[in-house]
Amino acid sequence: MDTAWAHASEIAAAVSDSRTSATAVVGGALARIAKHDRALNAFTAVTEERALAKAAAIDAERARGRRLGVLAGVPFAVKNLFDIAGLPTLAGSKINRDRAPAARDATVIARLEAHGAVLVGALNMGEYAYDFTGENVHDGASRNPHDVSRMTGGSSGGSGGAVAGGLVPIALGSDTNGSIRVPASLCGIFGLKPTYGRLSRAHTFPFVASLDHVGPLARSTRDLALAYDAMQGHDDDDPVCARRPVEAVTPLLARGSEGLHIAIAGGYFRAGASAPAQTALARVAAALGVTNEIELPEAKRARAAAYVITASEGGALHLGRLRTRGRDFDPAVRDRLIAGAMIPAAHVAKAQKFRRWYREQVLALFARVDAVLALATPCTAPAIGQRTFVLDGVELPVRASLGIYTQPISFIGLPVVAVPVPLQPLPIGVQIIAAPWREDVALRIAHALEQAGIVAATRPSLEGGK
């Protein structure tokens, strides 16, 4: 089988049925990383020895006749803010290279491996996750597999590049303001940002505690669902992680979008979008038969409040390092963090009050609809190094503005699936937003669109120097 572009579900079935071995699959992933990562710059560490040992253990289990996990032999990689036993947790920084190696894996890594998945490495990211571009001054920019001169989006840039480039079928990222959904959109893959508090963030390097989420990126909705189901469940090591039972979504995918009431987010969420973005949204809406628009009230203020809370909490988190290691930061990140540390507390308190008000208004909308469609990014992937772009006739900074449509959603912790619309020459994503704890709704709609051929992760050409 062509494991370079196979879905995780297909790989696990083939390993379980002895049509291939975990060792062969993992060896193939390691070979692809060796061959293509020079161009993609997705990986910052490859855990070859560990991966081959784990794969051999899975093959030994199968030889003994044991039943294998639903992710048996599936290679995966994680943004380098997840703890990996034996490696310092970089979080995209130079400073963290001085940290002691992590004593254990992040909870979600352990849970994926408990289902048979095999960790093959750590992935590039924007420094301390304060980024929407995927650029990194220390490790170099993550490169978009559809055009390596373009951004992956960030901050989970390596996660987007590794999955879209066929190096691994599943990667983990984190999303504070859009850091899973932006790279999913620019790289043309699926991304799931679950409800705030759904998945454990234990043993990951934080950014903004009140906004941080973790989640998977993949090339199919089924793979997203499999990974998500494997990672669910309460974790005492993360005080935010909800005490909810595992609510498996994989068995529900086939229900599709039948009977669901869906609307398009209008107003703020349509202003400033490029022509490709509007085309993508129109295609998705037409396929679902959705014509009605709803307004998420005060979305612009919601984005502003998310921006303020992020700057302030991020500045506070890094204040000690800013005092002693200021020169070792990416200057673009350092200057934003210092400014954030200086924000008067009154503004942050007001933003947190506004956050509750906004949440109540948006939740009221979910009494009328099951899901809302919105653009994921205002445009397709900008060129690496591009500092500004023009939205609605106004020149704006790329680094801060790629997430204008994602920030008002993660601000109140709603679950979102970003689905890729395969436009030419570059793909772009659409957000499917559901009510809290209804990841199943968003994934069912995504699956229906995938079955209809409206959304898909298309295979890039990585040959000939691309």
């Binding site: 612009k300 203020r301 409040a305 007001k350 933003a351």
Partner: protein, 94 residues
């Protein structure tokens, strides 16, 4: 036609423009001939001192720009009327 974001001197019609104008009133720019510094420069220096942060001269421009943007966005949120008993989003449980 491409245009840059409105300056504080333009008419404040949108909420963001109003917020920027308000931030500019809080920290008005001084003319070159005025001996006094821009109050936002003074704020950056004072905040850096209060936070025990050593800021190198070449960093200041970008820090000030970022602060100006963030304060403008904060003003947008601060303008929104909420009752005194509005609860903040994070709720502590003992």
């Amino acid at each position: 036609m491409t245009k840059r974001a409105k300056s504080s001197k333009s008419k404040a019609k949108t909420p963001r423009a109003r917020a920027k104008a308000r931030a500019r009133r809080m920290f008005p720019k001084r003319g070159r001939k005025t001996a006094k510094r821009d109050p936002l420069d003074s704020f950056v220096d004072a905040a850096a001192h209060a936070l025990d942060l050593k800021i190198e001269p070449t960093w200041k421009g970008a820090i000030k720009t970022n602060l100006e943007v963030t304060l403008a966005l904060a003003a947008l949120c601060a303008d929104f009327p909420l009752p005194d008993d509005a609860e903040p989003a994070p709720v502590f449980s003992a």
